[in-house]
Symmetry: C2
Subunit: 135 residues, 2 copies
């Protein structure tokens, strides 16, 4: 499941991607531009640090920055940092279930889609500040 | 998210599909063949009745049966009976989010996949009692 955490986590990552190569961003700067509470954002950022997608520096000019190039980070990397599984809770029963291939195939196709979108692709969408696609 | 409810709900529907045209099945018969506790299964069946996928009759030969042909019911119908949304919790914030198209497109592709699988396709898989596909 794509929790709100993962959704805000992606926004934070894309905000950092937009600033890539221009030094660190403070949590309050990201929070302000993305309309997320700072304390909540800091929780997400520490989870993204544990997933080695984000690094942090201390001091006056300290803050957060991406640990690698935006075109090498996919949406799936962010989802995986927050969710164990995209579609369904994993447990022993799932594996024994004779119909589990239905859910596994669906999971596989979503993961493939998430892997195909790089964070760098999303920078222009975030900047625009409105939905580009209506479905 | 595909909860365990939806996963067991699908198994119940496929068990009923295997019995389609041969009268009603009792909850305990389905439960026994699918290794699900009867009380839990009855909860799922009442949810599937509200979604008009299943009907019930009372009396000695009473039980549950599909309300329509197994080849006109898709996996998506079962998922929709249990989940509001496949991939992510819907709320006002999702819609305002400039990156929400990422999640919406993913949702769309999973829904399309679930719609493409009919309950009748799954009858032989369930009968076999083991996983047919290894991913």
């Amino acid at each position: 499941m794509i929790s709100l955490k993962a959704q805000y986590g992606l926004k934070a990552i894309v905000a950092l991607a937009a600033h890539y190569g221009k030094g660190a961003l403070q949590a309050k700067e990201i929070a302000g531009s993305q309309d997320v509470p700072v304390r909540y954002l800091e929780l997400l950022l520490s989870q993204l640090r544990r997933a080695r997608l984000v690094e942090a520096t201390r001091g006056k000019k300290g803050g957060y920055f991406l640990s690698k190039k935006p075109n090498t980070i996919s949406v799936y990397d962010i989802v995986a940092a927050f969710e164990g599984s995209v579609l369904f809770p994993q447990n022993g029963r799932n594996r024994k279930d004779s119909l589990s291939f239905v859910w596994k195939e669906a999971e596989k196709s979503v993961v493939k889609y998430f892997r195909s979108i790089k964070v760098s692709d999303l920078v222009p969408k975030l900047k625009s500040g409105k939905e580009m696609y209506h479905i």
